[in-house]
């Protein structure tokens, strides 16, 4: 893995998200209430809703367009809806958020 520093955890609102532009598309970086950080694709498999704009609850996010709910750990849609979003390795070093550069570059994605 090659960790890339993408910013400070305090730049993401608690129970919120920010996006990071990458070669594999926009990635939503979430921060949950106890300061857990998750990185998943920003794009909802239903009709491409921006997941970074959804309401974050527990370790899930609700898509702002039609309320599909995704587990941020696995990327799986919950309940009756079927679909999933890619998840990306991310870790927090002190207050800095590190995203795995290999996973988000086109080379490994292809």
């Amino acid at each position: 893995m090659s960790w890339i520093d993408i910013g400070d955890i305090n730049d993401i609102p608690l129970r919120g998200a920010r996006i990071v532009k990458t070669q594999v598309g926009c990635i939503a970086v979430f921060r949950t209430a106890p300061d857990e950080v998750f990185a998943v694709s920003d794009t909802c498999p239903h009709k491409q809703g921006p997941l970074s704009e959804g309401i974050v609850h527990g370790q899930s996010v609700t898509c702002p367009l039609h309320n599909w709910v995704f587990d941020l750990n696995t990327g799986q849609a919950q309940g009756a809806d079927e679909g999933s979003i890619p998840t990306y390795p991310v870790r927090v070093d002190g207050t800095r958020i590190m995203l795995d550069g290999e996973a988000v570059s086109r080379r490994t994605a292809a």
Partner: protein, 812 residues
């Protein structure tokens, strides 16, 4: 045999344990010299808090006294700092002379971190680390004020200790809840509640800006929002840093701490380190349990035995009487995690377990910590808990666990808590009525009048019946808000007022929420109820809002946004139109459309451009139209007396006034008004939530219209003679709706539930009540009547852009 010369730097808790091991196993083998910067030997540092609180004395916590050292032949050089090490000559230098060593041990502990705020070097600014700090705090008493920066373990123990001495203590914490590293927000809420119960003031999300002094002595702490907190002493407990300066100068490998291997050997031969000053396998330490493990390993190593230090899961307790909390393990990072949450509001208990696969990985509990060590053992042993998962949260004693009880919040209500707001009926009155033989809802209504007016408290009255009568009362099934709770919207609304509850954490805990922090259904509702009932006490939480209300723009199906500036009463000017046209050009707006609400919509604006387009529109004098809100939308008007030959009153002027007064207000659902100048009703006022039709004799005010999924004509509420009266009635009925309606009920739905008679009683007949309602609305508007666009442009424009762009870096 010549004795091996051991020199120890620092008489702390870790090195103390090493000395015990060595002198017990081989009393004759070593010649030990012990340096300590503090003018004393080893004491139990963690017990400084009970000393501060007055529960123990310093003498009680001394672990090694003079006799102890003398018996073991240890040369003590207390009050003397080691200043230099000559590794080639194997000599340690102290202020009073050199000592040679065969083996050297660093046990220098850590240093408290002092935030370099202006004024941090004033007299009266201290940390919390040693006896001197403790004594300084003990010199405070009644009449003194102290500010503690830091709401972690140390800060809170300091605060509680001083509060027990009658000191007026304020804790300033930068995060959203206390002890955020050990606790989740629910446990943090309970902790805060009990500390506040001890008279401690707690300020969360508070950023310190400057320490103000007078004659070189601390006088106050200033926060970045301008608040000034006067104090006689300021304690900073914001973290520690391994004490590594000496080791670094001696040329040892140092990262965050002094690097050691599994035998506590540093990068240099014959030099060891233990305690908080070390870094082992990337980790540094701040609790004694692992330090004692390290000490044991080092002792054995020096005795020539084989031993290796292994990092283990840790648990935390807070040494403050009456605050029973426990946390262990880890609830960050990792995939496939699952939560089990249990809350018992009536006992103030909260427990949460974090499970990964078939193992327990973390536990937080508050109020009832009896099972803490059992859970901790399960975590450490990585026990397979699959079989016990169902009952796990109830602890080792339980076979058949109890489900959380939705009635316990009502059971816990104090007798004087108000159940029926319309008639001012308390829980006690209802309980008395039940005792006197009123054993069903009808009888309660007729004997006490509770739930006999607007009826929104019916669910609570039924719960009081159930709690009092037990199985004799059959509860009708009620619709709960969502899967997170068994309570209905109406019950939650009333309990927020009567308990009272002023934060989301309070609602989740006191009403026994079954999830950690709600879901997308209940969070926006609770956020609204709190801000409507406690405009001054509760701070709106954007993260509990749907994207449109968080970003102050309507999201479109392709992820772009629409921007609708206000056009007060539907009236505009050439300058505004030009600014809109310019903005449309500048930001490549694909569609410009006249809305059904008498204003202009710019559709298809990119998220990143929002702050810029808002700034441009702001500069032309325009503000957010709230076209996205559960709040005031538009006030549609007709031309009225200004131009129309039939106009009876200034409908345009009244519409503009109303829109300006109501602008920014949040309501249970959207709120649309119309003002027509005469009964021809060109502003379609009679299909709005609130409609005003002007007539010769004054203003006819009607409510409950709709023209969406349902089409409804308004019902007449009253006629008033003056514009002033009309405005007051509109504000009063808006506030009544804001305070009483269920989230996502438009006025017509609320009207259907509470009835026009009751509304007329409240806002038309009872003049005093009308004024009180209008005054409460105005109070709330002191917070909310402003333009969110301007606020966002100023405070968080940068948050609208991606936090990083890796498209270039990744291409390299």
């Amino acid at each position: 045999m010549t004795k091996q010369k051991i020199v120890v730097i620092g008489a702390g808790m870790a090195s103390g344990r090493v000395l015990e091991t060595l002198t017990e196993a081989a009393p004759e083998q070593f010649d030990i010299t012990l340096f300590n910067a503090e003018p004393r030997g080893n004491y139990n540092r963690i017990m400084l808090s009970p000393v501060l609180a007055g529960d123990q004395t310093y003498e009680d916590i001394v672990t090694h006294d003079d006799a102890w050292y003398a018996d073991r032949g240890i040369t003590c050089r207390f009050g003397e700092k080691v200043t230099e090490i000559d590794r080639d000559a194997k000599i340690v230098k102290g202020a009073n002379g050199d000592v040679a060593y065969d083996k050297l041990i660093f046990g220098t502990g850590s240093e408290p971190f002092i935030i370099p705020l202006p004024g941090h070097d004033l007299d009266g600014v201290i940390a919390y680390r040693d006896l001197e700090d403790t004594e300084r705090m003990m010199s405070m008493g009644e009449g003194n004020k102290v500010v503690v920066i830091g709401g972690g373990l140390l800060g809170l123990e300091a605060a509680a200790g001083m509060a027990a001495r009658g000191v007026e203590v304020t804790v300033v914490h930068i995060m959203g809840h206390l002890m955020e590293r050990q606790l989740d927000e629910a446990a943090g809420y309970l902790l805060r509640k009990s500390l506040e119960g001890k008279g401690i003031t707690i300020k969360l999300q508070a950023n310190s800006k400057e320490i103000v002094g007078e004659d070189g002595k601390v006088k106050a702490l200033m926060l970045d929002d301008g608040t000034e907190l006067p104090c006689d002493l300021l304690v900073m407990a914001v973290g520690i840093r391994p004490n590594t300066a000496l080791a670094k100068e001696a040329g040892l490998a140092v990262g965050r701490g002094i690097h050691v291997d599994d035998q506590m050997l540093t990068s240099a031969t014959d030099v060891y380190a233990v305690g908080e000053c070390v870094e082992h396998d990337g980790a540094v330490f701040g609790l004694v349990a692992p330090l004692y493990d390290q000490a044991k390993v080092l002792g054995q190593t020096l005795l020539g035995e084989e031993a290796a230090f292994v990092q283990k899961t840790l648990s935390t307790k807070l040494k403050v009487t009456g605050c029973d909390l426990f946390s262990a393990g880890d609830f960050a990072e990792g995939e496939n995690r699952e939560d089990i949450v249990f809350r018992d509001p009536s006992r103030g208990v909260y427990k949460r377990l974090v499970i990964e696969g078939n193992k327990l990985v973390g536990a937080v509990m508050y109020g009832d910590v009896a099972d803490g060590n059992w859970f901790f053992q399960l975590i450490k042993d990585e026990t397979d808990i699959d079989e016990m998962r169902e009952m796990l949260i109830f602890g080792p004693a339980y076979q058949g666990g109890e489900a959380s009880d939705p009635l316990s919040a009502v059971a816990a209500l104090p007798p004087e808590a108000e159940i029926c707001g319309c008639n001012g009926i308390s829980k006690q009155t209802i309980v008395d009525a039940i005792a006197a033989g009123a054993t069903d809802l009808g009888a309660i209504k007729s004997t006490t009048k509770a739930s006999a007016s607007c009826g929104t408290c019916t669910g609570l009255v039924e719960q009081v019946l159930q709690v009092t009568l037990g199985d004799e009362f059959k509860m009708p099934a009620a619709q709960s808000i969502c899967g997170c709770t068994d309570h209905t919207h109406e019950d939650v609304r009333r309990l927020i007022k009567s308990m009272p509850l002023q934060s989301q954490e309070a609602v989740w805990q006191e009403l026994g929420w079954k999830t950690r922090n709600g879901c997308h259904v209940c969070r926006p509702a609770i956020n609204y109820y709190l801000l409507a009932d406690w405009p001054l006490e509760y701070k709106d939480d954007p993260q509990s809002r749907f994207v449109n209300e968080r970003k102050h723009a309507n999201i479109q199906k392709d992820g772009t946004y629409s921007v609708v500036p206000r056009m007060w009463g539907g009236v505009t000017t050439p300058a505004e139109l030009r600014a809109i046209a310019d903005a449309a050009d500048k930001y490549d707006v694909p569609t410009v459309k006249v809305t059904g609400g008498q204003r202009i919509d710019l559709l298809g604006v990119k998220g990143e451009d929002l702050p810029n387009i808002w700034d441009d529109l702001n500069k032309a004098g325009m503000v957010s139209g709230y076209a996205y809100s559960k709040g005031l939308r538009t006030v549609k008007t007709c031309v009225g007396t200004d131009h129309c030959r039939f106009g009876t009153q200034d409908s345009t002027g009244l519409g503009i006034k109303l829109e300006k007064i109501l602008h920014g207000a949040w309501t249970p659902h959207k709120l649309k008004l119309g003002v027509s100048g005469c009964p021809r009703n060109c502003a379609e006022a009679t299909c709005k939530d609130i409609g005003i039709v002007c007539v010769d004799s004054g203003y006819q005010i009607s409510i409950g219209g709709a023209a969406g999924m349902d089409v409804k004509e308004t019902e007449l509420m009253c006629s008033v003679p003056t514009e002033e009266d009309a405005i007051e009635v509109v504000l009063a009925v808006t506030q009544l709706y804001r305070e009483g309606a269920k989230y996502l009920d438009r006025i017509y739905k609320w009207l259907g539930k509470v009835g026009m008679d009751w509304i007329v009683e409240q806002v038309v007949d009872d003049l005093e009540n009308r004024k009180a309602l209008a005054a409460r609305f105005e109070l709330s508007q002191t917070i909310y009547n402003h333009d969110p666009w301007a606020d966002h442009v100023e405070a968080k424009a940068d948050k609208y852009a991606p936090m990083a762009d890796l498209t270039l870096e990744a291409a390299e």
